[in-house]
Symmetry: C2
Subunit: 231 residues, 2 copies
């Protein structure tokens, strides 16, 4: 079985991210396919593994060539439980991991996703915006002109389809994106900003753009989620 | 604090759905705003509450009038910890709860989403499809003609935007939707079907539509997720 293992969202105050019942499953895994070895070791430190972490096989996915990927999935299919984990949150969702999972499906190796933290899902639950219809875009366009046009277009889509729009941004660009959102979106559009999810400084607030303009949020360099819905 | 509390996905084999550390938070809540009282009591039975379940205030959200909703959120804002829970999965995501959360934001009552199972997120992680760009639509259109046209349109969107398309369906219509997907989608499109997520009969498989046609899946009446991506 290929286990898809969520890892802590917050690096400052990492918390054990898995259900008690699922810890038994990850403790069976001696091979870990990860985004980066260092955060993987930090997460493994929270799982109370029966084997010393230095004795686990920790492989960075991006370093594996196609043959190595093929071999590890075949080994998994043959009965060796193997885990996939990204640096923070759920592998394969706004994070690497999907290619390995896709290969598992092609080779008919069974996969088992574990419950754990996703900043996208937590922010959507807490936004009070439409959770019956939503779209996650990853990062907004880098070029300011394209980004602004994209924000306007996404607001129209949100209005006509009542579809909640969701993006993340690199923390050092949080302020620029907030500026752009407050300039491009209509005053009546609901904008949710959530930061440091699951961390000690977690804040999640939904206000109209008009309200935000009066008290501009300052998430600093915390990882941030942005969601909007035009009424 | 208004806690947003996930509940077990599987009704047949319900499992404690919360992180060990979060159980202390929900055990403080004596008032529960729920979708339906019966499944809420079943979920509460897994939380080892310090108070007998019959002594908790369990309020069905749909039964509360605007004044009652307002009063309960004001009480929460004043310091009484209150929980929101839906029948299965995460409140507010493909489930009721968002209106109460939206009211909490309007009244500036802080909200705190708890980590727990979401069939949408689990299926997306396990699909191996694009998790950097995805859209959840809720249920597909009911009318067969509209549904078929919508499937074709969504396949075009998935192709041009590399956006994973996600829907759920009422279990007794699973077979009809599978028929329609296998007819309307191109043979090369990747289709993931996941059922009984977190349950004892969990299955999640991604194959091309061409492959599915040779071995049509039979999820029976299990709750099912459908995801597709056109290469």
């Amino acid at each position: 079985m290929l286990y898809l293992v969520p890892s802590p969202l917050s690096q400052k105050t990492p918390k054990q991210p898995l259900l008690e019942a699922d810890l038994a499953l990850v403790r069976q895994c001696n091979t870990w396919l990860v985004e980066n070895a260092k955060p993987a070791r930090a997460a493994l430190g929270l799982f109370n593994m029966p084997v010393a972490i230095r004795d686990l096989q920790i492989l960075e996915i991006a370093q594996l060539n196609p043959q190595q990927r093929h071999d590890v999935i075949q080994r998994c299919k043959a009965g060796d439980p193997i885990a996939v984990m990204s640096d923070a949150g759920c592998p394969g969702v706004a994070d690497p991991g999907a290619e390995i999972v896709a290969l598992a499906h092609r080779l008919e190796c069974p996969v088992h996703p574990l419950v754990g933290p996703s900043s996208i899902l937590l922010a959507l639950m807490a936004s009070g915006l439409n959770g019956q219809n939503f779209r996650f875009y990853g990062y907004p366009p880098l070029d300011p002109g394209q980004r602004d046009a994209w924000i306007k277009q996404s607001e129209r889509e949100s209005k006509t389809q009542q579809c909640t729009q969701i993006v993340i941004e690199t923390p050092f660009r949080n302020e620029k994106l907030i500026d752009a959102l407050l300039k491009q979106l209509s005053d009546s559009t609901l904008l949710c900003i959530g930061w440091d999810l699951t961390g000690d400084e977690q804040q999640i607030h939904t206000k109209t753009v008009g309200h935000w303009k009066k008290r501009v949020p300052s998430p600093g360099k915390s990882p941030c989620l942005f969601l909007w819905l035009s009424a």
